[in-house]
Structure formats: C-alpha cells, structure tokens
C-alpha cells in the first residue's frame, strides 16, 4: 500500500484518481489543485508518491516537480497529463519524474504504475 498525494486542477480527475487508488488498496493522504499547493502538501504530508498533472493554473506540474525534487531528491513523482509529446516526457524524466501516464488513462495503467514506482 502506498500513501499517495494526487495533484490535478480538475476536481473530477482528483476524485477519479482517488477512487482508483483507494479501490486498488492505496491511501490518498491529500490532494492539490495546483503546483504551489502540491509543494506545501508534499512538505507536510511526506507521501510515498505523487501523481502530478502538468497543465494547471498558478504553478504547472513541471515546475512543481522540479521544486519537490529539490526538496527531496528521492521523491517518487509520476506525471499524469494529456500532453504526451516526446519533448514533454523527456523534460519530465530529466527533471526527476519516475514515470509518465498520458490521459485518458485506465485504472489498470494507474495501479500498475504505482506498483512499479513504489515497489
């Protein structure tokens, strides 16, 4: 079981990801609607992993990824975005993301990725 922080600006997607993760036996310890809130939530909650959207208001997911990796180089962050072009994936992986899921996703893909990343 992993303790997961869910980051997405769409309330519906936070709800669906939470539902998938909880039914898959994981605990969602918090959620955040933008990168700024995600960084603060990461500091206070210290989750095992983070699912991180990219296109968000206030601060996008790539900026938040870099900031969290600066705080904790061992942070396990999986990007979960509709933007799947090679340059975006490469940028995320070079910045420390452990994996990249392109939306729309299905629950099997989410749960398989969590298992792979958290171990």
């Amino acid at each position: 079981m992993a303790r997961v922080l869910v980051v997405d600006d769409a309330a519906f997607m936070r709800m669906m990801l939470t539902d998938i993760l909880v039914k898959g036996g994981h605990e969602v310890v918090g959620d955040a609607e933008n990168g700024k809130v995600a960084i603060e939530s990461y500091k206070s909650l210290k989750p095992d992993m983070v699912t991180m959207d990219i296109t968000m208001p206030e601060m996008d997911g790539l900026e938040a990824l870099k900031a969290i990796i600066e705080l904790d180089s061992e942070a396990k962050i999986v990007m979960c975005s509709a933007m799947g072009q090679q340059s975006m994936v490469l940028d995320a992986v070079k910045s420390g993301a452990k994996d990249f899921i392109v939306k729309p996703f299905d629950k099997d893909k989410i749960l398989a990725t969590v298992s792979k990343v958290v171990g």
Binding site: D9, A10, A11, F12, M16, A82, M83, Q85, P104
Partner: protein
Amino acid sequence: MDKSFVFTTSLNGSYKAVLDVLQEDYERGSPRLVTQHTVGGGYCGLVGLLGDFKGRLIVDLTDEVISRAAMKMFGMVIEDVGMIQSFASELVNMIAGNACTQLANGGIHLDITPPTLLHGTSSFIGFHEGIEFDVFDGDMKLLTLTISLEG
C-alpha cells in the same frame, strides 16, 4: 510557418486527438475557414495555444458527448453539475493536450494553457483566421472544434 501547413496539420492532428480521447471512430464533417465562432449554448472549452504559432483551441461539447466520454473512460454517469463542469473542462484539456502531441509529431510544437469553460451562448469574434470542423456519430453532432490563429 506556412499557414496552409499549420491548418492542415492542425486539422488532422486535432481530429486524431478527438478520436483518441473519445476512443470511438466518429466521423469528421467538412472543415471550414472561419474568422469568428458562435458557441451553441452547451459547454464550451477555451484553451490558449503558445509556441510555433499563437492561437486558441475552442471545443463546443454537446451534453451527449460529455455523457458518452464519462461512460467510456470511467464507466459512470455524472449527475452532479459541478462534476459535469469539471469533467467537461478536463475533456477539453485532454483533447487539447493530445492535439499538441499529434501536432508535435507533424512538426508543430505548442504548449497549452489550462482550459476556461463557458456555458451558454456567446461569440468569439475578430480572430485573424481559424479552421473549424464538426464531429458526428451518424447524423448526430457531438462537438465542434475550432483552432484560431492570432495575428
């Protein structure tokens, strides 16, 4: 960047994105060159495009396509109005994000802004030029997608 290349690549890439996101083989209507767009009264998502060209991607969604997409992706009917709006906004984000991926494969590199969701009747006027198409299931129109260029 050559305008006809931008329009052709945008048309093909955004239609492929719609099919990939909706996970169905819907038909595309004939493309139209436009300089304004009137929103039909349902939900309409507006996404800014930045990069090799500057513009907007506008998607008019019917209630039918929102319901179908929720059922296809998550096997559920969404009844709460707030969640319908959130899902509609995310659906537009998915179409725009996937369109950017398709366009990148065609040599056009773009980033997108978070979507703004509108509801009701409105008109976008005065953009430089745009290309627009409808997506159908048989005779039923499911959505209209517009890509406008600024300047």
